[in-house]
Amino acid sequence: MRRRPTYITHPSRAVNPADIQVYQNQLLLGALKAAREERLTLGLEELPQDVVDVLKESHELHVRWAPERPYNTTVPFLSRISPGLHVLYTPLKEDQPDRLCNLLHQVLGPGLRCESPQSTFTSPALISERFAQTASLQYYSLLPSIKPLVAYLQRKVCRPSDLVCLHTATLLNIADSVDFDYDSISHTLTLTTMWSRQPDIIYDPIGEFTTLDAWNLDIPRSGSDKVEVGILSPAPAPEPSDLQLSGFLIVVGEDDHPKPTLFSFPSRHHSLSLDQSKLQRYTISFDKPTGLHPILRISFASASSLTEPKNKPVGSVCALQTYLTLPSHIFADKYAFLSNDPLFQKSHNLGRLRSITGETDLEAPNYVVNKWGSTILLEIQTPNDRESNHKDSAGMWDVTIPLHLRYLEPTAGGTSTVEVPWPIVFWACTAEDGTKFPVNPFDRTQLGYDGLFGPRTMFYHLNPAPQNGTIVERIAVPVLDTEVTSPRTIEYLTIVSIALGFLWVLFKLRWSTSRTGSGNDGKKNLKKKL
């Protein structure tokens, strides 16, 4: 196992190297306010057998998880995904019996709707068959808590006596992102966990003390394994496409003092400048009443501020985009978008549909849909795209995306609640030729949307700004109310009505056939009636 902890402090709180205590087999540093990333690289022999079994059938497997509460990003951890569990997977063979869903159920909870990769996963769009940048299958599920993973690690990975292991695992509960990456070339599994800030409260079970609002670093060297600790702060980068970090690197067990460092690297993911990122925050809501055709609304507080990133490279071309991850109960009518009708786009402030994949059947109810759902990449019009209409640029800027709900199972009460994760919104900008993102030691790919762009694309992420602390929307869906009328009553009433209607027509018909040839009678009859 290789461990690589990285702590990123605000430049104003840069660490004094004298505070870092480096011993032969241990590193100590108290009361650090910082974002943190833990990267563990594990060989197959270090993993539980059921995990190994699945990984051996995988060409590549990438798991991404984000919580339902918002968090602030920090250089260099700038990427964003919709809250929930994202899986990108390429099986080794096309038609192998696949146990991935079983493993997901074991590790992340039995509640996940996952039959098998063939039936549940969707195939992301490929921009190029030859240079496929993304895995062949995609899966998503809402997953409000990563607790099942913590329990799995404590049960299957930690020794029951290993207090540190048991305790460290619980830290995942407050993580802001959890990634697993495996590929069949390196045969290693990487677990990358990121906390955007120090925990409010943390208890050390060995030292038996509690720390408030800070990390306490006590990083031992474990056996022969290398531990490379970074304690860094962001610094202004020389190139707009680059990020720069300065601070100290310590290899525990090798180094006897913190080694000062300053390095920069190109990054796929960026944030906007401080003022721009405040002005371009977005809020998601559904227009009320939602009915069966909810309209998702992306609201920006200031239309006039919705401009390209100021910190983009010179000559870079940008477009504002949104990437929606829609569970199967909600979907978009792709033909409404594909028509590229300028009037439709203008009325919704939308641009071109860049990609729509997954379950887009317009008719199927949710209970017969096997796939997990669909993803949509859409361009967003900005006020600047409409030079003619200046009055729009005052005040808010709203983008609306018409969606549809599938029918859900009947319930007692007549309403079901479904959840929709907030989409992410970003400026996609071109990077210069020759920019080599993979040299970034914190590079993060396989997020679903990145594979839909060319390899030299930069993402300037906008921050979600929820009113109520969650970036998952809840919609009440009307369903058949089994309390008002029982299924049996519906059945009987339907059958009785059909039977009566049938008999009524039959009666009229019999009356007619019994009078065959008696046209004159009929005529008389009618005349009498008149």
Binding site: S339, Y367, E409, L480, I498, L500, G501, L509, N520
Partner: protein, 486 residues
């Protein structure tokens, strides 16, 4: 003013000119609305057809377009829509012209049945000047195109062109499955008048297969089979799946006018989620829905009525088929509306205006009640499945059954007509074979004479024409919108 109206309704040119103008205006208005508004006048299905036509120009299958569930013929006919520019609206023009041709055929059939030009025109304008019909076809719904085929089928049959009507029937059934029910009534109507009253079963079976019937059956089956083999050879299994098999496997759970709808939603959910099933085990009963539907529309109504009044029989069959169907949307109403002008001259709905007005009002109110519930569900998100929508669809079903009862009864009191029964078709077949037209013509005249003597001409008709066309202005727009948004 009344005299002016009368003269307008009596002139063939003015009726067809107004019908043409009505459609032309709607067409141009539709193009205008589409160009300025995000809410399109054009029917959503029209985009399906044109996408499919575009797929065909790219030499791929029309079934590459999801929800294209029609014969490839339709996408072939609409190929010009892919030429760009105003050609996009070619299909709507075609469908609107189909309306006019259907109207002309209605006129022909009415006149053949002995109505004077003026009266025939008046009834034909129930179709020709009906804004609902004009609206549906100019929005680009293909139902109007099917209607002209069905009316051509009836016209061919009524004029004794047995082979042509067989071919048209095959084509109609290939286009949409339901017209096969007309095969039953037409077969039944093609009876040889028997002189001997006593016969064994074998004899009567043999007698059933007279020349005309064999001709009709073979022409329709050959056309149907040939078209299907052709399409299957070109497009393979997707053709079968989308054109025919889809209708067997679809779930039809989304709310529509059908009385089965709530039950279908419930049972589809119970099949998918067994835990829901609970106590109710007999829910697969809806798979027997075709029994009453087909018994009525393909057997009982043809046998009981076809020999008396074929157009009214076809109206009753279609009404029964649509009313007892597992899925029913507003476009299906056009299927029976086409026969209305042929039925009302002879109908107690016009003979007794109070009855006619009540039936019309109930038909409209039944839909209005359903639409109101549907609106609450779709747009306000209220769970109106039960009791609202359920009751509304059962109510609408009852109203339709009531109207169907009136139609059936009306035919019952009419005499068995020689127009459709017995020797006439064989005469005209031999006439067309030998080229001696006078024979059939004299007979037609005789028939006309007889029918003008009948009860229909002596009855007051009220202003039924205006009544019927009013249906649409009342509610077509909103209804279509609600349904389209599904």
């Amino acid at each position: 003013m009344p005299s002016l109206l009368a003269s307008v309704f009596s002139s063939r040119t003015s009726i067809f000119a107004s019908a043409f103008l009505l459609r032309a205006i709607l067409l141009v208005y539709g193009i205008y609305q589409d160009s300025v508004s995000a809410i399109k006048y054009t029917d959503i299905d029209y985009y399906v057809f044109t996408d499919a036509a575009r797929a065909v120009t790219w030499r791929s299958s029309p079934y590459d377009r999801a929800t294209y569930r029609y014969t490839p013929l339709l996408s072939w006919i609409l190929l010009p829509t892919s030429w760009g520019g105003l050609w996009f609206h070619f299909g709507k023009v075609l469908f609107a012209l189909s309306d006019l041709i259907a109207g002309w055929l209605i006129l022909m059939v009415l006149k053949r049945r002995g109505l004077q030009e003026g009266k025939a025109l008046k009834y034909a304008s129930v179709w020709l000047l009906n804004p609902m019909v004009a609206n549906i076809s100019t929005r680009g719904s293909s139902e109007g195109f099917l209607c002209v085929l069905v009316m051509a089928l009836l016209w061919a049959f009524e004029t004794g062109k047995i082979t042509l009507s067989g071919i048209l029937l095959g084509l109609c059934v290939h286009f949409k499955i339901y017209p096969f029910i007309y095969g039953a009534s037409m077969l039944w109507a093609l009876e040889t008048r028997s002189s001997t009253s006593t016969s064994t079963t074998l004899q009567s079976v043999l007698k059933f297969f007279n020349t005309n019937r064999i001709l009709f059956i073979s022409a329709s089956l050959l056309t149907f089979a040939a078209l299907n083999v052709l399409m299957y050879n070109i497009y393979g299994p997707p053709f079968l799946q989308h054109t025919f098999l889809h209708h067997l496997t679809r779930i039809d759970h989304r709310h529509n006018f059908s009385p089965y709808n709530t039950l279908l939603y419930l049972s589809s959910a119970q099949q998918a989620v067994p835990s829901l099933a609970g106590a109710s085990a007999a829910l697969s009963l809806e798979s027997l829905a075709f029994v009453p539907q087909l018994l009525l529309s393909a057997f009982l109504i043809p046998v009981g009525m076809a020999k008396r009044d074929l157009p009214a029989t076809m109206l009753a069959q279609t009404l029964a088929f649509v009313t007892f169907n597992k899925v029913c949307t507003s476009q299906y109403f056009l299927w029976y509306l086409i026969f209305l002008p042929l039925y009302i001259p002879n109908s107690s709905l016009t003979a007794r205006p109070a009855l006619g007005a009540t039936a019309l009002a109930l038909w409209v109110l039944g839909q209005a009640a359903w639409l109101q519930q549907g609106y609450q569900l779709e747009f306000l998100g209220r769970s109106t499945f039960v009791p609202g929508l359920f009751a509304a669809s059962l109510g609408f079903f009852a109203i339709n059954c009531g109207i169907l009862g009136i139609v059936v009864e009306d035919v019952a009191i009419s005499p068995v007509m020689n127009v459709v029964a017995g020797s006439r078709p064989s005469v005209s077949v031999s006439a067309s074979a030998s080229g001696s037209k006078p024979t059939s013509k004299t007979e037609t005249n005789a028939v006309s004479q007889r029918s003008t003597d009948g009860p229909r001409s002596s009855r007051p008709r009220g202003n039924s024409v205006l009544d019927i066309s009013d249906i649409t202005s009342v509610h077509l727009g909103p209804r279509n919108r609600v349904l389209k948004s599904n």
